[in-house]
């Protein structure tokens, strides 16, 4: 009986192709999550007060602006920054996908609770906005992202890049999110200019 080395078989080609595809999928997923979390962190940091008000409006800690609200705000900000950094550097991806799933599920549940109590909210999730958040859309968005995090968690064991943290990716993504934030603020300034001209 003759045994061919695995490399020459169809099965090996399939494994190679699958590994390559998993690599690309992980790259795309971590790219999406790093952009999402870094931009969300930057937006919340630069519109910190509306973010505090949003936490109060969710009414989970209390209805007063006190140290507990600040603690919750800094915890969410810290988590988002940490997740943004880990996803863009491609380090600790397993833990990052679990944390992302938990965080996004929590956000979905909070929006669901708010939707059921029929209280409108302005979450300022991605920067300054004078419109109320479309809660149904926010629930769907967060649930889809949580699902993507689960997929990422499932794919992640066959991909690891501990040796080369992608510092360049982090630099590029954070620069992109800064540009987006600038675009949001610029848009708001243009709106004010228009208001001033009309007035």
């Amino acid at each position: 009986m003759c045994y061919y080395p695995l490399k020459t078989t169809y099965a090996w080609t399939l494994v190679e192709a699958l590994t390559w595809k998993v690599g690309v999928a992980i790259l795309i997923l971590s790219g999406i999550f790093s952009l999402l979390f870094i931009s969300s962190f930057t937006a919340k940091l630069f519109s910190f007060r509306p973010f505090l008000y949003a936490i109060i409006d969710f009414n989970i800690i209390g209805k007063q602006l006190n140290w507990k609200i600040y603690l919750a705000a800094f915890t969410v900000l810290g988590l988002e920054l940490l997740l943004g950094v880990t996803f863009s550097l491609h380090i600790l991806l397993g833990v990052a996908f679990i944390a992302a799933f938990v965080l996004l599920t929590c956000f979905s549940l909070l929006f669901l609770r708010q939707q059921l109590s029929k209280k409108p909210i302005k979450c300022s999730c991605f920067g300054r906005s004078d419109k109320l958040t479309n809660q149904k859309l926010a629930i769907i968005r967060n649930m889809l992202l949580a699902l993507l995090a689960l997929i990422g968690l499932g794919l992640q064991p066959s991909y690891s890049s501990y040796e080369n943290p992608h510092v360049m990716t982090f630099l590029v993504y954070s620069a992109l999110t800064c540009l987006y934030q600038m675009y949001v603020e610029w848009g708001y300034m243009k709106k004010l200019k228009k208001e001033a001209a009309v007035g």
Binding site: F46, R49, Y53, I56, K63, Q64, L65, K122, D130, V167, M168, L171, S174, A175, C178, L179, Q181, M182, E185, W186, Y188, M189, L192, K193, E195, A196, G199
Partner: protein, 136 residues
């Protein structure tokens, strides 16, 4: 890699400076809007936005008086004129009620989360912008 990090640091510094400029410009534009609205403003004035269903406006007014002293307050009321009239009768002369049924002024002044207030000076600069929460 070092060059990339240096470029990134320069970019972030430039971003912070540009954002600071945009924020200053936004403040100037808000002052212009406030001036164009044509409210007579004393050295320190509070502009308080109150919604139609808000029955705690007396509490909000005393909260502002407690925090900033006996400053004049302009209440921008998002409701019908007759209700604003009733409100005005209950209040002292240092509090002026202005009807803003369509919330046009409130929107322009970014007082959209009611109740919230602005503290302005005579040069129409906004010194503080905050919300008032239920159990103050």
């Amino acid at each position: 890699m070092t060059i990339a990090i240096i470029i990134w640091l320069l970019f972030v510094t430039a971003f912070t400076l540009v954002l600071r400029y945009i924020r200053v410009r936004q403040q100037q534009l808000k002052s212009t809007i406030l001036r164009e609205i044509g409210l007579s403003i004393s050295p320190v004035t509070a502009l308080l936005g109150v919604g139609l269903d808000d029955i705690g406006y007396m509490r909000h007014i005393s909260y502002i008086h407690e925090k900033y002293g006996e400053i004049p307050i302009i209440v921008l009321y998002k409701g019908p004129a007759w209700k604003a009239d009733l409100m005005q009768r209950k209040l002292s002369s240092s509090v002026q009620v202005i009807v803003d049924e369509e919330a046009e002024l409130l929107r322009k002044l970014e007082l959209t989360d009611l109740p919230s207030y602005l503290i302005t000076d005579q040069a129409y600069r906004i010194r503080e912008h905050s919300r008032i929460f239920d159990a103050v």
